[in-house]
Assembly symmetry: C2
Homo-oligomer: 308 residues x 2
């Protein structure tokens, strides 16, 4: 019954691209909607090497305006235009979003064939998109920078046997779940008649660029997935922290305290040809840690149900 949530990593490198990793970009697909988090240079072409279509992007969330996180936007939007996109596109980002993106998206000669709506965030928002909410938090970085948490709304859990007994198919059940009640064959049926406890909504958190911060623990609390930056190994963390970045072990400590299910590490410095050292440092503190590579896919599963 649960809809699909999958995450595809289009770029996992930090600061500048390397032969091994492109700069940051992550796609999150919720049913047929694609959300893009950051859009470093080359993101459109990275997407073309996956089965997540750049034409299906509905919303883009930019963490901050360092080039490795947003310089792919103009090319992506130009290609959408050349491929005759008509649907509007929403782009969210921190302060100066309207100033920076208005300039950037109108550079050179071309005009988008579709409406682009820019949203400038303060860093404390909770954006309601119907089935899910995106929460926003400021991070510790030298320029205005945001972390994002996607949270599916909690929903009644359907009891398959009860639903079957009443003859309700998936389409009707989905409607019932959304509306709380329906009329079916002349009878009113309420959600309580077919539900059994709560399906806890999935939660995915993306740190963006940040020095380790206490506030990330509550922001990421009990998430299914915390995607946290881990620019360097611990021996280099002091300098990294000064530049607003984290080490692998600092990310792992946050994952542990936040009680997340999985820690996925990104924004790996181009100095690492092989990121094993990053992964191993994190695993020592939080075993379910993994360094993500470009084109990796991660399916977010629904957590075990809380019985009523």
């Amino acid at each position: 019954m649960a809809s699909t949530i999958r995450i595809v990593f289009f770029g996992t490198g930090g600061s500048w691209p390397s032969p091994e990793r492109n700069v940051m970009s992550i796609g999150v697909q919720i049913d047929s909607e694609v959300l893009l988090f950051d859009c470093g240079e080359g993101t459109q072409r990275q997407m073309m090497h996956t089965n997540m279509s750049f034409m299906k992007i509905k919303r883009i969330f930019i963490t901050h305006y360092h080039g490795d996180h947003f310089l792919g936007l103009a090319g992506l939007i130009q290609t959408m235009t050349l491929n005759e996109r008509k649907e509007p596109l929403e782009i969210y980002g921190p302060e100066r979003t309207i100033d920076i993106l208005t300039k950037f998206l109108n550079i050179g000669y071309y005009s988008p064939s579709f409406k682009i709506v820019l949203y400038e965030l303060k860093g404390n928002e909770s954006l309601d998109f119907g089935d899910y909410v995106v929460k926003v938090m400021k991070t510790k970085h030298p320029v205005p920078s945001l972390a994002y948490a996607i949270k599916e709304k909690d929903m009644p859990r359907i009891d398959r046997n009860r639903a079957k007994a009443l003859g309700l198919n998936s389409k009707i059940l989905e409607k019932l779940r959304k509306n709380g009640k329906i009329e079916y064959e002349g009878k009113e049926i309420t959600i309580d008649e077919v539900s059994n406890g709560v399906r806890v909504g999935r939660k995915i958190v993306y740190s963006g660029d940040t020095a380790p911060m206490e506030e990330m623990i509550s922001f990421a609390a009990n998430a299914n997935v915390l995607i946290h930056e881990a620019t360097v190994e611990s021996s280099l963390e002091e300098q990294a922290n000064q530049y607003g970045h984290s080490s692998a072990r600092q990310a792992a400590k946050i994952a542990k305290k936040a009680n997340v299910d999985a820690l996925l590490l990104v924004h790996i410095s181009p100095r690492y040809k092989d990121a094993k050292i990053i992964e191993n440092e994190a695993k020592k503190i939080f075993p379910n840690s993994r360094v993500m590579n470009d084109f990796d896919e991660f399916i977010v599963k629904v957590k075990k149900v809380q019985s009523s």
Copy 2:
């Protein structure tokens, strides 16, 4: 004796990137100097997959301001900055270069660590860079767009035997060639004493984006290499011409009339997964035609010497 001129193709696709081809960018190395022609999104990372260093780029020539020809500039310059480049960088382009690039290169938060000098060209210049000249011509495209011709200066051809008899090594010969005369072991030696005819300078022409144009024939006359756009096959050329593009056979006709040595085809439309049809159409008219792929390298050899 001849210095090395090699061409590396970082991107050979037209309009937008595809899994097969990145958007346009071509590197020309003359001795240790790297000139970059166009810089589509993702060029810096394409360069990282070759042995031509993005840190050695001395001059960049932009043909026009459609995104697939320049959107990689900001990321490239940001990465040069993060890698502590100090040498100034020259960027040449058509009208609006200063307006467009001043905005683009200052987008977001960062300032280059080195001087960037922008040159806005009218489209009829001949730029003298010492050992070589870059000539500029306007092309037929919906926005201001340029073709570039790199021409090595003609030089006296050294007669190895005479030079050896006088005991002159390569370093001294190079000086003699440049100055016309030198003092060596108390005696004046003139270039005439060791030369034998003329070493004709190599010529490389890059069309940029253009509908076929008569003026390209004289502009590219007798070139060693004509790099010409061939966006489509001949059956689609009518529409392509309207958008300021050429077909393979139109490019080949120009190569033939211009009497060039080799025709290298680029800006292949993303519709072609396999560009054999483009290459074959050109070969029928001009046998020494070749569709270039990303990362292809081409060494430009000195032509047979004209005897004196």
